[in-house]
């Protein structure tokens, strides 16, 4: 039982850093960014290869963030400058990163068996918690700054932000860069936590992110402390728990992607107030999305 909880929380903390990245693009910027499937692995690959070459684990994480930052900017540039549709820009970067990640690692799977990682010393859980707490704090502070408000504003009413004299193209690129930087950081942490980097570890990242966000928004709407980041972390942990429970219940690890999808579909359907037959039977208040960000907006 203890191992189960430690596993859920440790992974949950790391993944919630990734989910904050998803939150920036999907909720604030209203940009369905799929490139994160590639940047999660990118962060893992960069961190793993650097550590295996003897670079300090912390430095490898910083470089992973920079890698994610660049990948996100490319998604932004494709969309803003070349006018490629948002979803397609993300897919192009995601597919392109597959080859790049293989180049970085040199092979499909890179173990970190005897290497020193940030989790080598001290308690895994506490290390992960420290990371997620710092990121959550920065995330919350950032979205109170002018730049943070511009990102939220562009997602909600771009014309209005243009009328303030702001170059919204730059805002979009910046938001995508920040988002992918966070996702790459989470990828790097995950590689160090589980002791290997794998070319397929990022597949389905977007679904995990959306599932966690929807769960968090549905269940923890009223939390005031650190607002968005708290509901993201709690949502992610509950999501991880349901996944772990389904493994205990006897599902294969290969079934997990399908289970994730079903969780997202259920959470979206329950959160949608326009589906009448669901509403009539629901006794608890699933119907109202938090603030005015519609929980069905994906």
């Amino acid at each position: 039982m203890k191992d189960f909880l430690v596993g859920v929380l440790g992974q949950g903390f790391i993944i919630s850093i990734m989910v904050m990245g998803v939150y920036i693009t999907n909720r604030f910027l209203n940009f369905p960014d799929l490139s994160i499937d590639g940047t999660f692995t990118l962060g893992a690959s960069i961190s793993a290869i650097l550590i295996s070459k003897g670079v300090s684990p912390m430095v490898s994480l910083v470089i992973a963030i920079i890698g994610g930052f660049l990948a996100g900017s490319i998604t932004g540039l494709l969309n803003v400058k070349l006018k490629i549709k948002d979803i397609l820009s993300g897919i192009l970067v995601m597919i392109g990163l597959y080859s790049i990640n293989l180049r970085i690692m040199g092979k499909a799977n890179l173990p970190l068996l005897n290497e020193r990682t940030i989790f080598t010393q001290g308690n895994n859980l506490i290390t992960a918690l420290v990371f997620v707490f710092i990121v959550a704090l920065l995330f919350t502070i950032f979205f109170k700054t002018k730049m943070g408000y511009m990102i939220k504003g562009v997602g909600d009413n771009e014309k209005m932000i243009i009328s303030l004299g702001i170059d919204t193209d730059k805002v979009k690129i910046l938001a995508l860069a920040f988002s992918n930087g966070l996702v790459a950081l989470a990828g790097g942490l995950m590689a160090q936590y589980q002791g290997f980097s794998d070319i397929n570890m990022g597949t389905g990242t977007i679904i995990i992110g959306l599932a966690s966000i929807v769960i968090g928004q549905t269940l923890f709407r009223k939390v005031k402390f650190l607002r968005e980041s708290t509901l993201i972390i709690l949502g992610t942990i509950i999501y991880r728990m349901s996944i772990s429970l389904s493994l205990i219940a006897g599902f294969n690890p290969s079934d997990l992607k399908l289970i994730s999808c079903i969780i997202v579909v259920l959470a979206l359907a329950l959160g949608n107030k326009n589906i009448i037959f669901l509403n009539k039977k629901m006794s608890f208040n699933f119907t109202k999305p938090i603030s005015s960000y519609d929980s069905t907006r994906v």
Binding site: K144, K146, G153, I162, G165
Partner: protein, 258 residues
């Protein structure tokens, strides 16, 4: 103040749908003028505003604002000096944010949006003062999300926001057309008061002939990309509805047979 020099604009060039809307179009607006722009659909009113804000670019000609050539300036750069209010009340505000947050953004218009905090509690008093003058009770709703407000309340907020930093030019794009008649009158009153108090230069596109006659100190009528009527001062004051509608009909008839 604002000068459009020999502006030409053709849509769908070299296709069967080619439409030459503006051909060597000229307009000069002096500082402090409040110009009402009227004309039938397709006369070029919205295109005129779009050309001024940089939403679309002209094929030929130059646009000057305050003697500065803004022809090649991008939309967001021009917006630092030009404010625009749209027909759709939700265009001028960010619905998911509170009134306080929206006003805080408007207050920072034209400034660099860096990593300093946006909301400043000290501004609350200033915002309340400005909102009180609207007489809509918005001053007690500073922390309400704008999405909860009615169309009229949003449009008044948009007006306050877009004039917060005294723009050189205020563009009103049928900004009362989506509101009910009573609210529409209230918004027009507020508009006229703000324009007068701040001594703004304004260009108002409207389909409401009564508004066009009652407000502003100059009236122009566009027809197929040309200015067909341009009256100011006492000439505008003496104009009545019948005369204007007569002129309107005249022009439509003439062009119908030509």
């Amino acid at each position: 103040m604002l000068r459009l020099d020999n502006i030409s604009k053709t849509f769908n060039e070299n296709t069967a749908n080619e439409m030459k809307l503006f051909k060597e179009f000229n307009l000069k607006v002096e500082e402090g003028e409040f110009v009402c722009v009227i004309g039938s659909n397709g006369a070029g009113k919205s295109t005129l505003l779009n050309l001024i804000t940089g939403n679309i670019y002209s094929d030929k000609g130059k646009i000057y604002l305050d003697k500065e050539d803004i022809t090649n300036k991008k939309e967001h750069e021009r917006c630092k000096d030009i404010s625009r209010i749209f027909q759709n009340p939700s265009m001028g505000t960010v619905p998911s944010m509170t009134i306080f947050e929206n006003l805080s953004m408007a207050k920072n218009k034209g400034e660099k949006m860096g990593l300093s905090f946006l909301a400043n509690k000290k501004d609350r008093k200033l915002f309340k003062e400005r909102l009180e003058r609207l007489n809509l009770g918005l001053e007690n709703k500073l922390d309400t999300a704008v999405s909860q407000l009615s169309g009229g309340q949003r449009q008044s907020l948009a007006l306050i926001m877009s004039t917060f930093t005294n723009p050189k030019l205020l563009l009103l794009d049928e900004h009362t057309a989506a509101l009910d008649p009573k609210t529409s009158e209230i918004i027009m009153e507020i508009t006229a008061r703000i324009v007068e108090e701040k001594n703004l230069t304004a260009l108002m596109v409207t389909h409401n002939i009564d508004h066009a006659l009652k407000y502003g100190n100059r009236i122009i009528m566009l027809h197929r990309g040309n200015i067909v009527i341009d009256l100011e001062g006492n000439m505008k004051k003496d104009l009545n509805k019948e005369q204007l509608l007569g002129l309107f009909k005249d022009i439509s008839d003439r062009s119908f047979f030509s």
